[in-house]
Symmetry: C2
Subunit: 226 residues, 2 copies
């Protein structure tokens, strides 16, 4: 998504920081791998079996690293930022955010108005034993349906989301997420998607349908979904 | 939830590890604060503005900690474990898991068959600028509805989940989640819930309805939801 740099930003949480492409690339090159290392740490904390006293020691070191990162930080959340060239950065996003260790993160690809992403979920996404949490599938599919609405030039916030669980979503297995906008209007889009295993004969795990609505403040704000 | 220690465990991912209450308390006392410290680290990684070279240095230290935790770890996911007394531990769960830094975690309270939890979501749960990701609300509500079904002695896996988004869910604001089972049968329960702000005049942010189904393998397995 791009934002016309000549139009006033519509809302709190949207920042134009004027970073050059070089500055953005430099930030991404350090922040992306750091978030990835914390994803590994999250997994290791779930799965570790080292002794309690050692866990305490690791915790003290984690606290020291947090303090170091917090020596210089912004208030609140990352929001949506636009650099010099107008490119959108949502690096704090819980599903696709480059700086967010909670996000798997999804790398969403566009093929016309169809969007897709491949992912494998580890131990930190568990719900039922050995399976992804039903709410994690909902989280990923909400993002995918929103991306499909945006790809069809009808971006919006989730109005309704309906999920049908057809089979358990296995952890530690290649998965595919797909979505497309079925209908779009000037302020509303209906999107559909699904989560399957990535095999020669895929298992359909979850189906999703959602209505996405352009918020009032953004109507006429000339947001370009591409 | 408890599991009768005399009944055979139904499924891969369920373990009876025979830990005593003292051993469980000792593990919780170290693993809980460690996961909490990693939650702070996740937040700090999103919000930090320290220089890229420093981020690289922090990353190397995170990698060393991960390696230390992985020196002794189990394969796969945490699953569902039962100690000597039969108490269930789902410490890897993405919403309520004690060892899971992705989980806020929710502390779910029961008041008869009604369940509720208070939470405040930080920068790592962002979707739209300054607001919780719609899928994060779905994740939390899926767990709450499942807990409500279990509280009504009709535990199950999510069959369908429908969410209606009424207002944006603010980050950095006290929130309340509530749910109850509207109808229960021997293998199916219908649960409803909502997410509101926690104010004298709460804002209704999200409503949810779900059908929870006891999996085939668990029917007759004498799982006691309490």
């Amino acid at each position: 998504m791009r934002y016309d740099p000549n139009v006033e930003l519509p809302r709190h949480g949207y920042h134009r920081d004027g970073l050059t492409e070089g500055e953005i690339a430099e930030q991404a090159a350090a922040a992306g791998p750091l978030a990835a290392s914390v994803r590994e740490l999250i997994d290791a904390v779930v799965r570790t079996e080292i002794a309690p006293a050692e866990l305490d020691d690791v915790r003290h070191q984690v606290e020291a690293l947090t303090e170091r990162l917090r020596a210089q930080q912004f208030d609140g959340s990352y929001g949506i930022r636009f650099g010099e060239a107008g490119d959108l950065r949502n690096w704090g996003n819980a599903v696709v955010g480059l700086k967010n260790a909670i996000a798997p993160p999804l790398h969403v690809h566009r093929d016309g108005t169809r969007v897709w992403a491949d992912v494998e979920l580890g131990a930190a996404y568990e719900g039922p034993a050995g399976l992804a949490h039903g709410g994690v599938s909902a989280l990923l599919l909400d993002q995918m349906l929103g991306e499909a609405a945006a790809a069809a030039r009808a971006p919006g916030m989730t109005g309704t989301l309906t999920l049908r669980y057809r089979a358990g979503t296995p952890l530690g297995t290649p998965l595919r997420l797909e979505a497309y906008a079925e209908r779009t209007g000037s302020i509303k889009a209906i999107a559909r998607g699904r989560l399957t295993t990535r095999e020669s004969e895929p298992t359909l795990c979850v189906e999703a349908e959602g209505i996405f609505i352009l918020p009032r403040w953004a109507r006429g704000a000339d947001l370009d979904a591409n």
